[in-house]
Every structure is written in structure tokens, then in C-alpha cells.
Amino acid sequence: MRVRALQVVSIVALVAAWEAAARLGWVDAAFVPAPSAVVHALGTIGDRALGGLGDTLAKTAIAYAIAVVLGVSLGIVVGSVRVLRDVLNPFVIAAYGIPKILILPWIILLTGFGTTPAILYGTLHATFPIMLLVIGGVRDVDRTLITVARAYGASTWQLYWKVILPAVVPSMLAGMRLGIVFCLLGVLVVEMFAGVRGMGAVMGALANGFKAPELFAATALVSAASIAIVLSLDWLNDRLSHWRDQ
């Protein structure tokens, strides 16, 4: 209760102070627009922003679907074959860790401006964290489970489908939660760098046009969308891993 009150009070205080600072001219309203102006701008950019957001989310969904399939399947293969895991793990860590923006110009050169580079780059961002966590999950599968399944005559197919896959579900879900944020980030970066459509392009145009209230409104909209997506994934995660605690 006290906690909730503190949250509400500090957010209200922050917004009020911000509004006052903008109204009284303590900060330049051209750069830091008052919250009321941002709310107003939310109405004026509505259609354009929602269109851009829809475009961005559609690209993200495609990239994410590809990344999950690639990340999980490659992760299971690399994780369960000892030689592959030993050889490839450092490469996967490196691919996860290096700033992929360095190869973005080249991706744009190869695939042009538009939807393809956004999907490609989003996929690139999301695949490696998922793969890395699935590799770890497969590596840590209880050896006893595998030995017992083998001893009772499970085929390789049954071993993967009935033992290994269920055992890696938690790390897969953790990877997917990490992956969605990276995926959205990748798509937005491409749209900002070379986009003609999508929320990143809209935000880039608003920034270049010095339309601060509209830019803040667009930023708030994307943030809200991405928080909503992550929270629903968390909820799904809880539902799916419910049985494990019992």
C-alpha cells in the first residue's frame, strides 16, 4: 500500500514538476515539451504513428518467428552434439556480444531500403541470445534422464521430443523473452538508419523536424507497446512453467 502510494506520488510529482518547468520556461519547450503538449500531440500523430507501429510490429513478428525457429533448432543441435558445442560456443557468444550495427551498412547495401533489411537485422539480433540459452539448457539436461530413457529403449527421436525438448523449455522461454526486446530493437534501428516506413522512420523524421511533442508522444507509444509485449510474454512464461513447481 505504502509502496503503491509512493509510486503514484512520485510519478505525479515528476509530471507536475515537468509541466511546471516547461510552462514557466525553465526548460526550452522546443526540446522538452510539457506533458500536456505531449498528450495533445498523441492525438495529432495518432494515425501516422499507429500505422508506423503496426508496420514495425509486423516486421518484428516475422523476424521473431524466424529467430525463434532458428535459435531453438540450432541451439538444440549445437547443444547436444559435443564437438559442435565445443567448437561453436565461442563464436555464438561473440556473435551475440559484438555490436551488430557495424554490419548494418553492409546489410543495407545488399538488401536495399525497406522491409527485408529490417527483418534480416531483427532476426540477427534475436537468434543468438535464444540460441545461446538453448545451448546452455541442452548442456545442463540431467544426464540420468537421458541414460534412463536410453536404457528403456527410447529412439533418438523420442529422446529429443520427450526428454530433451521439455527439459530445455525454461531456458528457451528465457531466451525468447530476451530475444523479443533485441528483435524489436533491431527492426527499429534499421528503420531509423534507412527506413522509409515503420515507427523508427517516423521517429527519425520527427527528430529531424524538431517536432519534440510529437516525438515524445511516439516514444511513449513504442515504449508502452514493448512493455505490454514483454509483460504478456512474462505472463505466458508463468503459465507454461506452472507445472514445474509441483
Binding site: 557495424l102 547495401l109 545488399l110
Partner: protein
């Protein structure tokens, strides 16, 4: 030994495949290693980009300032939220929600506010580095066993002594891990910022080479940047291992 040999063979095969593929494609779009290598030599001898050291210094300075700010703010806010439970319960979830937003969302606003020069890159690098450091401090504090703190206090240790002698060593492992992640993300933030729009720094050179379709120079500059990133991470990893060994 064999693992290292297979890795080496894999890298060699990749380089050969790159050479083969690039020779048969549009030379404007792809540069084979045999073309990149001379370009790399010209970049390193400051032949093609005589201003390279100055741009590298600009980038290094941005990273240093952003990281210093991220460490200070991350430690201060992390400890404030971790040690005062009401604060932590109130603001922790807000922080976690903000962390779920892809950080690049903030970049246009930062660019509008701070302009195209170093400040917007510093602000973005700070933002990216701040979150993992703060979250590592919070996670570290949760790991400290309450018994240790109670015993220390019972034996008459002051709050400060308890903090320095009991809490910090107990959470060192997580803390330095967070500091290392923070550095990696600050570096990424500054470079992303420079590539999305800048007039100085290594990112602006990369954009320049790419914009003029000087693909070999572009690849060479990317390689130089990668070496610097890997070197900074190796240094951070060395410090991390030192600190972790000290805490054990």
C-alpha cells in the same frame, strides 16, 4: 587441441568462402579479403584516413565519460534501491519496465535534445550502461546472506564497516559481472549513436566509407573497431577475474 584446430579450420574456411563469394559479386557491394587487407594496411598507416587517431580519441572519450557516469549513477541508484526496501519496492518495478523497452527508442529524443555532437552519444551510452549496472547491484544485494550482516552488527561493526567488509565482498562476483556488461553496452551505445548520425568518431568514418561505397575501407574500419572492442572487453574480463579471485 583438436577443438582449437577445428575452430582455426572453420575460420580459414569462412575467409576462403568470403573470398570466393566476393570475387564473383558486385565489387561495389562486397570486398574480398584480398582487397580488404591492402585497404586495412592503408587505414592503419593513416594513408586513406589521416584523421583516424583523432576520431578514435573522440569515440574513446565519449565511451569513457559515458561509462564513468553509468558506473556512478548505477552504483548510487542500485545501492539506494537495494538498501532502502521501500524505495526498492516502489521504483524497482518501474526500472524493470523501462529496461523492457528497446533502448534505441530513446535515441531520437536524445539527438533532438543534445544535438549531433558527442553529448547525445554520451547520453545514449550512459543509458545503455546504467541499467545492467543498477540491476547487478540489486541482484548482488539480494545475494548477501542476512545472517552475515546480523552477525557483523552483533559484534559491533558500524554500518559503514559492515558495508565495506561484509556486503561488498559478498556481492563482488555479481557486481563486477554487471560492471563488465555495462561497459560492453556503453561501447555499443556510443557506436550505435555515431552510426545513426554524427560528425566525429569512428562511427562517422564508417558511415563516410559506406556512403561513398568505399566498401574495402568500410570493412577495414569495421575490423579496426572490432579489434578495439574485443581488446576493451578482454581488459574488462581480466579485471573481472582479478576482482572475483580477490573476493573468494
Amino acid at each position: 587441441m583438436t577443438v582449437a584446430a577445428i575452430r582455426l579450420a572453420l575460420v580459414l574456411a569462412l575467409v576462403l568462402a568470403w573470398e570466393g563469394a566476393a570475387r564473383f559479386s558486385n565489387p561495389l557491394l562486397s570486398a574480398p579479403p584480398s582487397v580488404v587487407l591492402p585497404a586495412l594496411v592503408r587505414v592503419l598507416t593513416l594513408d586513406s584516413y589521416p584523421e583516424l587517431p583523432r576520431h578514435l580519441l573522440v569515440t574513446a572519450r565519449e565511451i569513457a565519460i559515458a561509462y564513468a557516469m553509468a558506473v556512478l549513477a548505477g552504483l548510487a541508484i542500485g545501492f539506494a534501491l537495494g538498501l532502502y526496501r521501500t524505495l526498492g519496492r516502489a521504483y524497482g518495478p518501474i526500472l524493470a519496465a523501462l529496461y523492457a523497452v528497446p533502448a534505441v527508442v530513446w535515441y531520437p529524443s536524445l539527438m533532438l535534445f543534445f544535438g549531433l555532437d558527442s553529448s547525445s552519444k554520451i547520453a545514449f551510452g550512459f543509458l545503455l550502461g546504467f541499467f545492467p549496472i543498477t540491476l547487478a547491484v540489486l541482484a548482488g544485494i539480494r545475494q548477501v546472506s542476512p545472517q552475515l550482516v546480523t552477525v557483523a552488527r552483533a559484534f559491533g561493526a558500524t554500518p559503514l564497516t559492515t558495508f565495506v567488509k561484509v556486503m561488498v565482498p559478498a556481492m563482488m562476483f555479481t557486481l563486477v559481472g554487471g560492471l563488465r556488461t555495462g561497459l560492453a553496452l556503453t561501447v555499443i551505445g556510443v557506436i550505435v549513436g555515431e552510426i545513426l548520425g554524427s560528425r566525429q568518431g569512428i562511427g562517422s568514418l564508417i558511415n563516410h566509407a559506406y556512403g561513398l561505397l568505399r566498401t574495402a575501407d568500410y570493412v577495414a574500419l569495421v575490423l579496426v573497431t572490432l579489434v578495439l572492442i574485443v581488446a576493451s572487453d578482454a581488459l574488462a574480463s581480466l579485471v573481472e577475474h582479478r576482482a572475483q579471485r580477490w573476493s573468494e
